[in-house]
């Protein structure tokens, strides 16, 4: 397993960095936020990302994609974490692409995947029902009615839920609330009758929504995978999503750290730059060490996806755990080391702090992944 990028991957990362820093720097994020842009991202920027091929990175060539792998996708997410770029790449290029690729039948793949590649379809996963990640705690019900299903229930923290054409819903067709078995995935058009979508305003301005399904009707041809067997697809997709978001968190932490390091070298107090103070130097060195560990964990986890490792689940938890802990530490320290300006909206460090806390919640925080790692390791 290589833990450094090959030439192709490095060039993808360089292109992503250059593109994002030129077209979507933090000022772009601020503009979307401050104008309370209803969509939550810029459509023309998204179509440029699509033109660069990003939405098709995880999609097989048979369906028009590029099958470039998670190491490549991870590099893009790392760079987007640095620039806080708003886009539907996570909900569509990772979640939707993986759900359909891993769970869809050929007809569904033919129907949806090429549209993701060309940018005419955006997707969202409606999974969570509580205030913390618990993938199988599902009480949203789907009951069979002839050739159709009726779905009722409420979903929360649906990323890009208000701006997607296709919503993939995890509903219970059997069993009780916390069972892994008895969960079924459905493809639901966002326009369907009986869907109530409420955009939520998160602290980091990341797009998310609460969605209510009021006895909506879904044809059985819109089942994704087999009935009652949604959990196994979900698990595979969540591993990938956790790894992609970990890469974004690594970028978030790296940028907060770099900005802070620059500040330590220019801010003067007591007649010298504050970076000469050992109390700050040692904390910076500790953060550096944690960032290095996180970087290794993230790239190893991306590799585990591409190599179909049988240890993928644990690697996903490793990446999300390290990314969560490190991002938490670094963003807190970044604000503290900036002093007064660190708590102003004008300086960027506060944006990274807010983004860190929301990404921590996405598909399991560090405590969740500690517990999962221990369970998978049989202790």
């Amino acid at each position: 397993m290589a833990l450094i990028l090959n030439e192709e991957q490095q060039s993808l990362k360089d292109i992503a960095k250059e593109f994002l820093q030129k077209n979507a720097p933090v000022t772009h994020f601020r503009e979307i936020r401050d104008t309370q842009n209803e969509l939550g991202y810029d459509e023309s920027l998204w179509s440029e990302m699509v033109n660069l091929g990003w939405s098709g990175i995880l999609i097989p060539e048979d369906y028009g994609g590029f099958d470039f792998g998670m190491v490549g996708m991870g590099s893009i997410f790392e760079e987007m974490g640095r620039t806080l770029t708003p886009s539907p790449l996570f909900s569509t290029g990772v979640l939707g692409a993986s759900l359909l690729t891993l769970g869809g039948d050929d007809k569904q793949k033919q129907n949806y995947l090429p549209r993701i590649v060309e940018g005419s379809l955006t997707t969202a996963l409606a999974l969570e029902e509580g205030n913390r990640h618990s993938p199988f705690s599902i009480s949203t019900k789907a009951t069979k009615a002839g050739n159709d299903y009726k779905i009722s229930g409420e979903k929360t923290f649906v990323i890009d839920g208000h701006c997607s054409n296709l919503i993939i819903v995890a509903a219970r067709t059997e069993g009780s609330d916390d069972d892994a078995s008895g969960i079924t995935l459905f493809l639901v058009e966002a326009e369907a009758n009986g869907i109530e979508i409420t955009k939520t305003s998160m602290v980091d301005s990341r797009n998310s929504a609460n969605i209510k399904f009021n006895d909506i009707t879904v044809s059985s041809s819109n089942l994704l995978g087999e009935e009652n067997n949604g959990a196994s697809i979900l698990e595979e997709v969540l591993d990938r999503a956790q790894i992609a978001i970990s890469a974004e968190m690594l970028g978030n932490a790296s940028q907060a750290f770099d900005v802070t390091l620059d500040y330590l070298k220019e801010r003067k107090q007591f007649g010298s730059v504050i970076g000469t103070f050992q109390a700050l130097q040692h904390r910076a060195a500790e953060m550096y060490s944690e960032l290095e560990l996180t970087k290794s964990s993230v790239i190893a986890a991306c590799n585990a996806v591409d190599e179909n490792s049988n240890d993928l689940k644990r690697m996903a938890s490793l990446a999300k755990y390290k990314a969560g802990e490190t991002n938490h530490l670094v963003t807190n320290e970044a604000v503290q080391m900036h002093g007064g300006v660190g708590v102003t909206d004008e300086y960027d460090v506060g944006l990274y702090l807010k983004r860190a806390r929301v990404t921590e919640q996405i598909f399991g925080n560090s405590e969740y992944h500690l517990d999962r790692y221990a369970t998978l390791s049989e202790y």
């Binding site: 290589a2 000469t276 560990l293 964990s297 049989e378 202790y379």
Partner: protein, 398 residues
Amino acid sequence: MTDLQTFREETRDWLEANCPQEMRKPGDVAWGGRNAQFSHPDQKIWLERMGEKGWTCPTWPSEYGGGGLSKEENKILQEEMGAIGARSPLGSFGIWMLGPALLEFANEEQKKEHLPPIVRGEVWWCQGYSEPGSGSDLASLSTKAVEDGDNYVINGQKIWTSYADKADKIFCLVRTGPQEPKHDGISFLLIDMDQQGVTTRPITLISGKSPFCETFFDDAKAPTKDLVGGLNKGWTVAKRLLEHERTMISAMGLSGGGDGSKKTKSGLAEIGKKYVGIDADQKISDKALRRKVAMHDLNSRAFGLTMQRVGEETKVGAPSPAAAMGKYYGTEHNKLRYELMLEAMGTQGVGWDGEGFSIEELAITRDWLRTKANSIEGGTSEVQLNVISKRVLGLPDK
């Protein structure tokens, strides 16, 4: 067949014919030296055969007795030795620390004189760096060497000299330029331990024993030709050598051993299960401990992956800046590992000796105490953090 395939086959055949069966089992490693002691006669045979072939130092040039192997060939040799479980033929600070420094800084005559005996395990070297008054501030060292004809006359005291009571020679930092700024008055000198002016005294650590000694020089002598790297240029040699030492110590965070003890290798989770018990789901019943064990395991993996990445980055380009954190993180991590073992073991983890405690328990306790030195020896964690903040992060001094 490619050259490397041929090399692999020849190596496999040679090892098959020359590695004694006894040396294909786990066990202690010989340290050689003038008064070499071997725990088994085969250890001597194995050392002699490997030494003759230069394979105790596979990548050193053959003109100095080394194996003259390329990196690729050495990898094959290590793989083939691993495949039959062959023990390392020789442990030596000469191989790990002094040799690489001599190859880089010594003159031709010095290389010819000192490298071949290291390869053959004929000289046991120890390191004379720290002094009672010069620990983290190593460059303030005061052991003096004054030129007197063909010799230097050495006076002063070194401390933490590992195996000084067993070693034949010492590579030593001495002050030769008392008027110069502190870093510019230090030389790197090779001194024979077997002489009137050198005495040693073992140091007992909190773990009850240790390889460390104090070493005293009272008008000890060393030939001027044994000064390596130029007069007052010793700090450059010293720094490079410390890098080798830190690499050696940071590897301990990976192996999980206090001082490499094989007795305490069982996983943290197993120790947790054994001493605090399991619940109905087979999980460690103390939730708080289980959480800490998982945290430690995750960090072990992240650290192992980072050291692997550093290796890969170094192979394709310049030395990776992340190497600087290896010693700091590895030793701190290893200390934490032993703290967790003790936490799990309760009173069984704080026995000193005698009845009521198993051999393994006592070994863990002693190793726990020994790990406290890991983050002090070879540069304290605080010194390592200084190195990272200045050399890697570029934070200013003033």
